[in-house]
Symmetry: C2
Subunit: 542 residues, 2 copies
């Protein structure tokens, strides 16, 4: 059988675009002589469609698209993903379904059995699990057709009480097809291959795996679709972070690819660039703006944005205050020159003084405090948003994960933006990523990387006045956020009790701030956003 | 058997407070001669604990609290709610458990079977469903102990394939106890009673129902715990929106209470007041501030805040611009006088001019636009936040649901705040609620209610310049948001195609704004927030 793996970038709810992409790929595959072309999970809707699935209208449009696509499946078959109605007398309204389309009609449907409902996944919110297991026969092959999580129940203590492949194996399949929407994080490609390998070896079957590619707001799908033989060796792999299609003859024995994968920083870099690019394209925007402080976070965000959107599409504003150091402007200006982008300079002292005057009668005699620090950050927020509103730009948020974790940022000030580029990148990783970029070419000024981080909202301020050193802070945060360790476990790692308690308290009393911040491009196994759901008005470790 | 229904207000993660409340109630109940005191679902953790459940430390603290509470159960028994570890060889890590504590130890555990995973609920994210069904024998009674949703599978097309009561009935229970955390919306008390009635009649058993009371950020739990006889008549009911306990002798035949419930506006009023009060108390804050514009939204928010926190704890700032009408100030001042609260006046023209000057070179020659409108709203946001930061207040957001729906508001401006009081109240309901309040005493100035709504950000601006009339807008929004109708269905209700398409588009392109707004006190069956999860970068009806 000649099978095309079609790894495409879908746009949630954009049926016109998704449908025409799919139809175009079907015709291309047919021209290549393929028997079958396989698209990823919920390809027609885009993944995740979230509560659009609650609308009959949305589900009906998915159905119509399936029927229309089926018309193009003559002399070739396709497997597409779309929700289907549960017509039974109980259970949730929908199934998450893989549709086999051939001879101009719907030839078979397979519903998803294992519905991930953890981290960023909410599938049991919408879908009824499948309970009927049948092999698909097509082109002389017996296909075990599965959907993403259906192959993932391989832990020692399995999360689900059924394994779809265990049910299908007695029907003697020749191969496994898995259509997926498996989002990226920096370890995910390895985990994914390991999970597929366990299946290949356990069932002694080859696997043809098609993943979603492209960004859906915070979720970054890295693609990396692949074919694996029954020995668990990868024989074909599609591009990461790009649309890609590949024709494979399942009857030809292919050579195993050599192992080896990009570095963590290379993956994060490419994921963030795709995330920015897709966010703008799918919203129909072209141009970004950000505030350039001379510090490393805004510098790195700018470099990534220029890679994603082109230098002609990224503007910056330098907004020094009376507390800005001399190097802030020169470092920022050096970077602007290195990149050749448009910049504007708006000193904020006079606006700051107008706020001081307006508040004088209320604040009379009270010392300079957080209020005055935040006014400066918020003035910058107002200026950047005015620029966006006037010229149709989107503001890029420049906060990093360490700041977002401990609430070291000003709500409605530097926490503004349409999308947060670095909100899942710890400060120590920000430095690492900056050095990774500078390896190829010295773009980010050395002084930006080497000087001590500062918010520059009061004289001689340093981040280390308020926070532990970032190496220590990030290690504690990682143990708490990514590893779910409690205070005693973190103290056992070798950190001081007082520091640990202070950091965890900072994290937990900042939920109200994170609630109101932009979506964050997700590159780690546990990002702030839809995958981490915390009470706000709570008192735990706080 | 003498049973106490203990309807308490828990604080998520505040084990010290929750535990001491529970222990105090146990001792009181014992002094009253009770055999058993019943607390609500997950009472030890507070509901919903959300991703705190992912932390072993959090779950361990729940267990310790259960053991410590058990020490106090001598000569009396208690039923408390807390997560328990799934020690089986598969499934999710936890159960959602009701614990029977007596004779100083844990006498029985019952796990929840039906795990709501829709709207604001995420229970299958954390819990494994129960599959073992056993009656609890206590004090000569055979108790069918169930947890909230366990009694809710009563629809014609049931969502779940099992009914716990069907499994328990063959064991001949004498009564049903249900411990619940069923959040308020304005129809929920009636729905809840109807669901319980179906169970009472179907199984011919009395029901003792204990609900959670109090606000957990956006979720408002109204209490209304009750006892129902096997004829489906309510014989006892606890207070709405207040902590309450009641001793009931199950062997004494009680008279049915008369039907009748508070009006929708009375319910909404009391729910919002509780929501504000609990939000501040549980965060450890006392004082609120808000911007008073002379319009109805801020006026109503202020009146509710004064009811919740006391007039000495609510300050307002009047911030007129060059576009504010004369009546804005006088209407606002009238309300300030009616309430006897502290107000400050900060005209914003001079700050506005300082922004104009700073942006002059960039905006040179371009016409006044949304950018300038938003600058005004954002200046007010900066001033209010400066007040909060300086004096330790929390800013109350005053946006209503109609505005939040169509994005008629300025992000980082009037969309700021710690909590949104009216974000689930449509504009037409805002008027209704204002009139309800004025029925008792004329507090909100008549002119505030009768004048045409305006944002006053440019000369002679009216909401109706940009939006359909609110009666029409709200009807379309209700059909889309609460009823999940698609465009064709809404047009069939009698609205113009062009208006419907325009409104739905406004809703769907505003997801990025709602993502960054404060949590919204939930009073409707479908509120913006954790119960409505929409993609941002999508293209559906937009």
């Amino acid at each position: 059988m000649k099978i095309v793996l079609a790894q495409l970038n879908y746009h949630i709810g954009n049926f016109e675009s998704n449908q025409s992409k799919i139809i175009e790929s079907i015709h291309k595959a047919k021209a290549q002589g393929a028997d079958l072309v396989v698209f990823s999970e919920l390809s027609i809707a885009g993944y995740p469609p979230r509560d659009f699935l609650e609308f009959d209208d949305f589900v009906a449009r998915c159905q119509i698209a399936v029927y229309q696509i089926a018309q193009h499946c003559r002399g070739i078959a396709a497997i597409v993903g779309a929700p289907s109605l549960n017509t039974g007398d109980k259970g949730k309204r929908l199934f998450n379904t893989a549709w086999l389309l051939s001879e101009g009609k719907i030839s078979a449907q397979v519903h998803k059995t294992l519905l991930p409902t953890y981290d960023i996944f909410d599938e049991y919110r919408y879908f009824e699990p499948n309970t009927a297991f049948n092999i698909i026969e097509f082109a002389g092959k017996r296909i075990a057709l599965t959907i993403c999580e259906d192959l993932w129940n391989v832990d020692d203590i399995p999360m689900y009480s059924v394994n779809p492949m265990d049910e299908l194996v007695p029907q003697h399949p020749d191969l496994i097809i898995n259509i997926a929407a498996s989002p990226f994080h920096y370890n995910q490609a390895k985990i994914r291959e390991e999970v597929l390998r366990k299946n290949a070896l356990r069932y002694q079957l080859p696997i043809y795996y098609v993943n979603h590619v492209g960004a859906q707001t915070e979720l970054l799908f890295d693609g990396g679709s692949l074919a694996m033989n029954s020995k668990g060796e990868i024989t074909h792999r599609l591009q990461y972070f790009e649309e890609d299609t590949l024709l494979i003859d399942t009857d030809v024995i292919a050579i195993a690819l050599k192992a080896g994968s990009p570095s963590k920083m290379a993956l994060i870099h490419d994921a963030l660039v795709m995330g920015i690019r897709n966010y703008f394209f799918k919203l129909g925007f072209k141009k970004a703006v950000l505030g350039l402080s001379g510090g490393i976070d805004s510098a790195l965000t700018l470099v990534l944005a220029v890679s994603a959107l082109g230098k002609e599409n990224v503007d910056v504003i330098l907004m020094p205050s009376q507390y800005s150091s001399d190097h802030s402007i020169t470092d920022a200006q050096d970077l602007v020159n290195n990149l050749g982008i448009k910049s504007s300079l708006i000193p904020i002292q006079s606006i700051y003084h107008s706020f001081e005057n307006a508040l004088q009668s209320l604040f009379d005699g009270l010392p300079f405090s957080l209020a005055e620090e935040n006014i400066q950050a918020r003035i910058r927020g107002v200026l950047l948003m005015a620029y966006c509103n006037k010229f149709g730009h989107i503001l890029l948020n420049t906060s990093n994960k360490s700041e977002a974790a401990v609430g070291y940022g000003t709500l409605y000030g530097d926490m503004n933006g349409g999308i947060s580029v670095l909100g899942d990148v710890y400060k120590t990783e920000v430095f690492e990523l900056a050095r990774y970029i500078n390896q190829k070419q010295l773009i980010i000024p050395t002084n930006t990387i080497t000087k001590p981080p500062s918010a520059e909202l009061r004289p001689d301020q340093k981040d280390s006045d308020s926070l532990p050193e970032y190496a220590e802070l990030d290690a504690i945060l990682f143990a708490y956020i990514e590893q779910f360790k409690g205070p005693e476990e973190i103290i056992e790692l070798g950190f001081k009790r007082e520091t640990v308690n202070r950091v965890l308290k900072m994290v937990n009393i900042s939920e109200h701030k994170r609630y109101q911040t932009p979506p964050i491009l997700r590159i780690s196994p546990k990002a702030f956003g839809m995958g981490r759901r915390m009470p706000i008005v709570a008192k735990y470790l706080s």
